[in-house]
Point group: C2
Chain length 199, copies 2
Amino acid sequence: MAGCVSPPWKALLLKALETNSHLKHSSFFQLATIGPNGRPSNRTVVFRGFEEGSDKIHINTDTRSNKVEEIKHVPFAEICWYFTDSWEQFRINGEIDYIDFSNKDLAKLQQREKAWFASSPKSRLQYLGPSPGLPVICQETVKETHLEPYAGPVAAFCLLVLDPDQVDYLNLKSNERMAFTFTLSEDGSKIWKFETINP
Amino acid sequence: MAGCVSPPWKALLLKALETNSHLKHSSFFQLATIGPNGRPSNRTVVFRGFEEGSDKIHINTDTRSNKVEEIKHVPFAEICWYFTDSWEQFRINGEIDYIDFSNKDLAKLQQREKAWFASSPKSRLQYLGPSPGLPVICQETVKETHLEPYAGPVAAFCLLVLDPDQVDYLNLKSNERMAFTFTLSEDGSKIWKFETINP
């Protein structure tokens, strides 16, 4: 069985989330991916929590958004998460997976369903709206949308799962910086180590 | 002579900067680049202003930081700038240039010198510190550093200049989103146009 020792950067991150929890935007971070033209792409997304018993990070998105296409092409991303009150920055790099309605893995589909029900009824409605990023055709065509509270995830709902393999932590108050990396143990669990580096 | 019509997104950005100016972090944004391993890279940097009479964005950095190496390799970046009070996001994509001490262009070197003197004496001192990102060797070796107020830029000081060619604006309060792109006029000036797109 793979061990489940919590990585040391996760404790720092949970502490930062607590310290900054009075700020709505403390759960927002910037997710960088690579566009089809080979250029970087960067946008603000919302942290939806860690996968149960793991350090994988969940993000909800619309299957029709550019980032899903980008991730299919290059499945790597870097989160930059800056906490504006405690002046801490986490740069979290890793492989990123997308779980949409067409996924064949039952356990992943269940994760997607769980993420759907964990999001507010209001935020679920946005997945019934027009395709993000496409030109607004006509304001008049916006239809009244309604979703039953117990209705499962709609086709446009997609769960992104980032599996961290490198974390760079910077504290601008104490001027400390740490680089976290891991090695795999014999049982397949991640053994995280860190090094103090120059800020 | 190239025209100098200010792009419409710049007016929105200047307004957002004003609206959010009571927040120290309103001048911070996330800059995504591409790492040597082909993965995205993302970090918080400080907005140092627009180039005079232009829409080019200035960022100061250390020549020894990873991002300079990355930009030499792939000279494109995307800024993601989220304003936490007005709930506005600007995604600014463009080519990015670095101006270090070895630059042969006198006008660029003058820009670098201007950026150096525009930064605070305290922030100048950081360029005399140890290489960012390298392991901390020994706390004891940290030397007292001093810089004369009129001393010009040190070798490690580098000016980054991002030349925007695509801007995506999102207002989460009004739920409006706009895509800005440009075409070049006959005299070589940028003619910006925009389209309202689905958020």
